[in-house]
Structure formats: structure tokens, C-alpha cells
């Protein structure tokens, strides 16, 4: 097991790119690596600003998650950070009875179907009333292969 607390900073930033000059990020503030990083970051701020929890509670929840589930050997520090941030936020929402697992699963599936039912290039409109897509039928006009479950594929660039 890797001891992340004793690594050099370059190693900690990316176990796969050791040695490159990762500390030289330039003078500007870093940008969000992926759109969902920005969204989950902004979500926690928006909810605390709206008074649903204090920054104190947030820091407490987030730091516990960081401690409980540290960076894994197959993750960059950025992957780990936003995984921890997202997990901590959902746990906090659950503990405050703002959202539960079933609601999460339903909304995730509805979003997935909303994507799959929208023609590529058109804006995605969230709909809860879409049927489970028949992938064989939706994607192929002629039946020539057994239906395969959809494979989620990240469309955003990995950093």
C-alpha cells in the first residue's frame, strides 16, 4: 500500500506521471478538470449559502471522508479529491434528510435515459417519463445482434 502522506508532491499529484514538473501550474488559478467537478464544487457552496448547512459542518464531513477514503493507487489526486467531495456531499444530504439513495438511483437513471433519448448535438432536457430504452431497437434498424446493456462512457477528457 502506498503511503500518500510521505510522497513527494509530484508523486502525489499523479502516480502515473512521476518526474514531470507538475508543480509548475502557472500563475493563474487552476481550472476545473471536468464539468462535473465544477458542478459538485458549486453545489456544496450553493447549499451552504442557502443555509442548509454551515461551513463548519461541511469541513467536518469532508475531512472525515478524506480520512476514511484516501487517494487510491489508481487515482490521480484530482480524481480522489472530487470523489471524496461528491461522496461527502451526498452523505451530508442523506444525514439532513434532503435526499436518499432511492431518489438518487431514480434521478441517475432518468438522466441517463434523457441523454440516450436525445439526438446527438441537441440540448439534453431532463425527463422522468422516458421508458427503459430498448438498445437493440433504438440503436439498430435491423436486428443482427443480441441486445447489449449500455456501457457508460465518460465523454469528458481525463486530465
Amino acid at each position: 500500500m502506498t503511503d500518500f502522506e510521505s510522497q513527494s508532491l509530484a508523486e502525489a499529484l499523479d502516480p502515473c506521471r512521476q518526474g514531470s514538473n507538475l508543480l509548475a501550474e502557472g500563475m493563474d488559478a487552476p481550472k476545473f478538470g471536468e464539468p462535473w467537478h465544477a458542478q459538485v464544487f458549486g453545489l456544496a457552496f450553493a447549499l451552504s449559502k442557502a443555509g442548509h448547512f454551515t461551513r463548519d459542518t461541511w469541513v467536518d464531513t469532508f475531512s472525515k471522508e478524506i480520512k476514511a477514503n484516501p487517494q487510491r493507487p489508481d487515482e490521480t489526486s484530482e480524481d480522489a479529491y472530487y470523489r471524496q467531495w461528491a461522496t461527502a456531499l451526498f452523505e451530508l444530504l442523506e444525514s439532513l434528510d434532503m435526499m436518499n439513495d432511492a431518489e438518487m438511483a431514480e434521478a441517475v437513471e432518468a438522466w441517463r435515459r434523457s441523454f440516450l433519448h436525445t439526438e446527438h448535438g441537441k440540448p439534453i432536457v431532463f425527463r422522468r417519463d422516458l421508458p427503459k430504452p430498448d438498445y437493440d431497437h433504438v440503436h439498430h434498424h435491423h436486428h443482427h445482434a443480441p441486445a447489449e446493456p449500455p456501457k457508460p462512457v465518460a465523454v469528458s477528457e481525463a486530465i
Partner: protein
């Protein structure tokens, strides 16, 4: 198999979960539509080290402002229009010939957002958070910064209420420089304490190569 003529490939499960959270909270009336985008926009376009550089340059060129900054940093930073989201207090640590200050958040990634924007990735790593407290001089060396043995290195641990901004020493050879000129010397890392401001020579070289 997917067919590129039909449907849009959904983003990753992680991304879908975030969209789901936002959606459910908006439907329940717990979150205003657009609130998240507003915050992201502020972080992407309004907050960043340029704000901190203005604070530092003002302190270097206006002694009265410098005094106000050291006495009540939150108010002095607000004078320039920068403030936090949740009323966290700002504290300025001034570097001198005897003391070099470095900031960290050992628990997570508390950071002076109003003056520096988003923290760099290394600031959030377990390695930085634990090692800068234990062996700050070694960590600074990884940034290419060697602090002389007779200079004390002081590490400040940010938290949910207190955020630290390092006021670096004004570089030599800048007598008579305007505030705008001075601000160009101030780097993000010099306000975290893991770097120094540019020298006039370094700035000239940088501008020549740009």
C-alpha cells in the same frame, strides 16, 4: 455497441450522480435553479490570484493600507471588493527577513477563495497537507525554494473560519513602481508561501518570452 446517429452518450456515473443531486434538490425547492452555475461562474471568472496580487501590491505601496491589512485583513480586502461566501475571516501573515510564512489546510482544502480562487491540486494532496507541517523546509525545496537556516519557517493551518494570505516581501529594485507594475510581480505561490514574488529581471524575461 452504440450508434453515433442516435442518442447522446451519457456522461460517467459520477457525473450523472451530480446532475441527479442538483435535479432532485431543485425539484424539492431546496436549491434555486441556476444557483450552482452562478457560483461556478464566480470561481471561474471573478476569483483568482490576481485579486490577491492587487491586495499585496496595495500593501507594498500604501503604508496606511498595509497597516489596515495587518490589523483587520477581512475589512481591508473588502475595501478592494473581495469577500468570501460565508464570512470567513482573512488573516495576513507578513514575511520578513526573519520569518517566512507558509499556509496549509491540514484537514481538507480550506483556502482564501476571495483572494486566490481555486486551490492548486498540490495544495489538496495528503502529501502537502501532512508533510508541510512536519518538514516544511523539505517541502519548500520541492518547489525550488530554499529558505536560509537563520530564517524561521512558520506554517499556518487554515480552517473553516480562518484563511491565511501570505504578504511576501517587496522585491528589491522596485522603487517608484506603480501598484499595477508591482502586482505583476506577485505570484500565486508567493501568497501561499511556497514561492517568492518575481524579481524585476524575472518579470522582464517573462514578458519578453510572452
Amino acid at each position: 455497441m452504440t450508434d453515433e446517429h442516435h442518442g447522446t452518450e451519457p456522461p460517467s456515473e459520477a457525473a450523472l450522480r451530480i446532475k441527479a443531486m442538483e435535479q432532485v434538490l431543485i425539484e424539492k425547492g431546496l436549491l434555486e435553479a441556476g444557483a450552482v452555475d452562478t457560483i461556478v461562474d464566480i470561481f471561474e471568472h471573478q476569483l483568482g490570484p490576481k485579486n490577491g496580487a492587487r491586495v499585496v501590491a496595495r500593501a507594498w505601496s500604501d503604508e496606511a493600507y498595509h497597516q489596515r491589512l495587518m490589523t483587520d485583513a477581512t475589512a481591508a480586502i473588502l475595501e478592494l471588493g473581495y469577500s468570501g461566501f460565508d464570512g470567513e475571516y482573512m488573516v495576513v501573515c507578513e514575511n520578513t527577513a526573519e520569518v517566512h510564512n507558509v499556509t496549509v489546510c491540514t484537514l481538507c482544502s480550506c483556502y482564501p477563495w476571495p483572494t486566490l480562487g481555486l486551490p492548486p491540486m498540490w495544495y489538496k494532496t495528503a502529501a502537502y497537507r501532512s508533510r508541510v507541517v512536519i518538514e516544511p523546509r523539505e517541502v519548500l525545496k520541492e518547489f525550488g525554494l530554499t529558505i536560509a537556516d537563520d530564517v524561521e519557517v512558520r506554517v499556518w493551518d487554515s480552517n473553516n473560519e480562518l484563511r491565511y494570505l501570505v504578504l511576501p516581501m517587496r522585491p528589491a529594485g522596485t522603487d517608484g513602481w506603480s501598484e499595477e507594475q508591482l502586482a505583476k510581480l506577485v505570484t500565486r505561490d508567493s501568497m501561499i508561501g511556497t514561492g517568492l514574488p518575481l524579481t524585476p529581471e524575472q518579470l522582464a524575461a517573462q514578458e519578453a518570452s510572452a
